[in-house]
């Protein structure tokens, strides 16, 4: 993607239509949704995995992982921590990759 972007002539000013139809813009939108969809899938798997587990496999989550602590407790905490970690990953990605590309595309727009 960055190769394509580098080849684009920065001096050329484009109309709204041209920017929207440009491969760079399409790649940006596709990337944005593939990153967020991948993260959303991870969120689904972890959260619904957790909730279906506590709903259906009570014996499994009731097994002890400590003296009395059941597996259900660390699983619940892990679901929360992972949710935050996915959010942090998205922000890091967007700050690093998404924003610079947005600025570049905005620079190509005719004023």
């Amino acid at each position: 993607m960055s190769n394509v972007a580098a080849k684009a002539e920065k001096s050329t000013q484009k109309s709204v239509h041209e920017v929207i139809e440009s491969p760079q813009f399409k790649a940006l939108v596709a990337k944005r949704w593939s990153v967020s969809m991948a993260l959303l899938v991870l969120l689904f798997v972890s959260y619904y995995g957790y909730i279906i587990l506590v709903a259906t496999a009570k014996d499994f989550v009731s097994q002890k992982v400590g003296e009395v602590t059941t597996l259900a407790i660390p699983l619940g905490i892990a679901a929360i921590v992972l949710a935050w970690a996915l959010t942090a990953f998205y922000v890091a990605w967007a700050n690093k990759s998404y924003d610079p590309e947005v600025e570049r595309l905005k620079g190509q727009l005719k004023h």
Partner: protein
């Protein structure tokens, strides 16, 4: 090093007696002092905010001048309700692990909010989520439908908050429930009416800070009684109430019920008007994004530690005491009772005042959202056809604020005695079914049409409301019929699917050329922020 057995002994000899001497329900110098300190500080802030609140953009969106960190705290303050604090700790105290399932559900919406709607919402909208849905569709029908979805969500959520506030203040000060409702309504109206979004934001920031400090202290004091070891706390819970206290119980009876509850909690957040509205207070999409991360961190921390408070209360205060009719019976006083036991009357006063601030901040946010759904979406965009002067807009917003505030007090009195945590769950089902599907399709789907949006919202709102009405919660518990017609507690899995299905089918049947043509402009704004307000 104390042995668990020795702690048990000392607890058994002291715990049952202590709560009986609770000052809950009797006004003390500490509780009144903290209460008035919070009211005074927030009203002073409102005074200064009022001087900066002249235009509609200042009233609804704090002039888009709120920083990402401030908005992160304010989002957390807007979201962490009395139901989270009192309800979840009470639920964990009385039924053990099941309360934790609720806690996780309330957090996982935040990443989804980030991945799907936070940035597009900020770029596309002005004051309400209906701005986004109506961006390239016909204004009038979409605004009316979106306002119905928004107002229904906000109303249900407000009822839960007002019920919580009434019983809390009644228990805290021995005030009559009805007077408590009026006090909350009056103080909250002062913030919103005079200070608009800026005052509301600061009330929410202060509340989030106080709540996190309060719950952290409560957690620390609890753990200090158990050798700073959660395992020891769990051992005591099991010793007192058996191993089932640490195992999932009846809250998620079946997988389909579990998924439905999860869907409501996760996607409900993405349809809560008072939360979505907060994204318009930051300068741009990048700040919106960062504020979600801050909020998720603060709220995640809160939900990780709140079960410790609940378990602590079940051991130290005991379930029997928490369930006493004098303490409301529903478990909501578990945290305040624990605070009194561990930190005395002064700490109880602090925690009670924090809970009060919690309710005020959430109700203020809800009132602003409810008022904007009427004044911005209906009055300005539909009745005045988008041509209202700044003065007219602010005046309409303020009138709507007063009407909504009065309605909140009335409904709070009407719904006295319901379990607050559960009613919030119901509000989420409506948000997930009426507001979220239309919002998401309007952002991402080129062929989405006016008719599609309207019918999606109406079907989502109507189906979730009907199924809730026919479920055990209302049909049996409120209306006193013998058997529930709809077998599940949470209808989101059906109502949300129905809203998406209807939105897609109706859109395909009613192609809208103009909406498709405008999608280009919308995309430019969604992804690049060009033209964002």
């Amino acid at each position: 090093m104390l042995q668990p057995g020795a702690i048990m002994q000392s607890l058994l000899s002291t715990a049952p007696a202590a709560p009986m001497e609770s000052t809950l329900g009797k006004p003390t110098a500490a509780s009144i002092g903290f209460f008035f300190a919070i009211v005074l500080v927030t009203l002073v802030i409102t005074y200064f905010a009022a001087r900066k609140t002249k235009t509609s953009s200042e009233f609804y969106a704090a002039g888009r001048s709120v920083s990402a960190l401030q908005n992160g705290f304010a989002l957390a303050g807007d979201y962490m309700s009395a139901a989270s604090f009192l309800g979840i700790s009470g639920m964990v105290a009385l039924s053990g692990y099941d309360g934790m399932i609720y806690a996780t559900g309330w957090l996982v919406g935040w990443p989804a909010l980030m991945f799907l709607v936070a940035e597009p919402l900020r770029n596309l909208g002005k004051f309400t989520f209906a701005d986004v849905v109506a961006f390239r569709l016909r204004n009038r029908p979409v605004r009316i439908a979106a306002a119905i979805g928004g107002i229904l969500t906000v109303l249900f959520y407000t009822i839960a908050q007002m019920v919580g506030s009434g019983s809390l203040i009644a228990l805290m000060f021995g005030l009559k429930y009805e007077y408590a409702e009026i006090i909350v309504g009056a103080v909250m109206l002062a913030y919103v009416l005079f200070g608009g979004m800026l005052a509301t934001t600061w009330v929410q920031i202060i509340k989030a800070g106080l709540l996190l400090v309060g719950v952290t202290l409560l957690t620390a004091l609890t753990l200090s009684k158990f050798n700073w070891s959660p395992t020891e706390l769990y051992s005591q819970v099991v010793a007192k109430y058996g191993p089932t206290a640490l195992q999932p119980g009846g809250i998620v009876a079946s997988p389909i019920e579990a998924v439905s509850l999860g869907l409501a909690l996760m996607f409900g957040l993405l349809g809560l008007p008072h939360i979505l509205m907060r994204f318009y207070t930051v300068p741009d999409a990048k700040a919106a994004r960062k504020s979600v991360l801050y909020a998720t961190g603060l709220i995640g921390y809160f939900y990780v530690i709140i079960p410790i408070v609940g378990f602590g209360a079940s051991v130290l205060v005991s379930r029997d005491t928490i369930k006493l009719p004098a303490f409301g019976g529903g478990g909501n006083m578990a945290a305040p009772l624990l605070a009194e036991l561990l930190g005395g009357t002064a700490f109880l006063g602090f925690i009670a005042a924090v809970a009060f601030a919690t309710i005020l901040a959430v109700v203020a946010g809800l009132t602003l959202a409810g008022a904007s759904a009427y004044s911005h979406d209906i009055y300005v965009s539909v009745i005045k056809g988008g041509h209202a002067t700044e003065e007219e807009q602010v005046k309409a917003a303020k009138i709507a604020t007063v009407v909504f505030g009065v309605a909140a007090v009335g409904l709070g009195i009407l719904f006295k005695g319901q379990n607050v945590a559960f009613m919030v769950g119901l509000a989420f089902a409506i948000a997930a079914s009426a507001n979220f599907p239309a919002l998401l399709m309007s952002i991402t789907w080129k062929r989405f049409t006016t008719q599609g949006a309207v019918w999606s919202i109406l079907v989502g709102a109507l189906s979730s409301c009907t199924m809730i009405l026919l479920s055990k919660t209302v049909w049996v518990d409120v209306l006193k019929f013998e058997n529930a017609i709809f077998p599940m507690k949470n209808p989101a899995i059906f109502s949300m699917t129905a809203a998406f299905g209807v939105g897609i089918v109706v859109s395909l049947l009613t192609p809208e050329k103009e909406a498709q043509e405008k999608f280009e402009e919308e995309k430019l704004r969604t992804y690049l922020g060009v033209g964002a307000e």
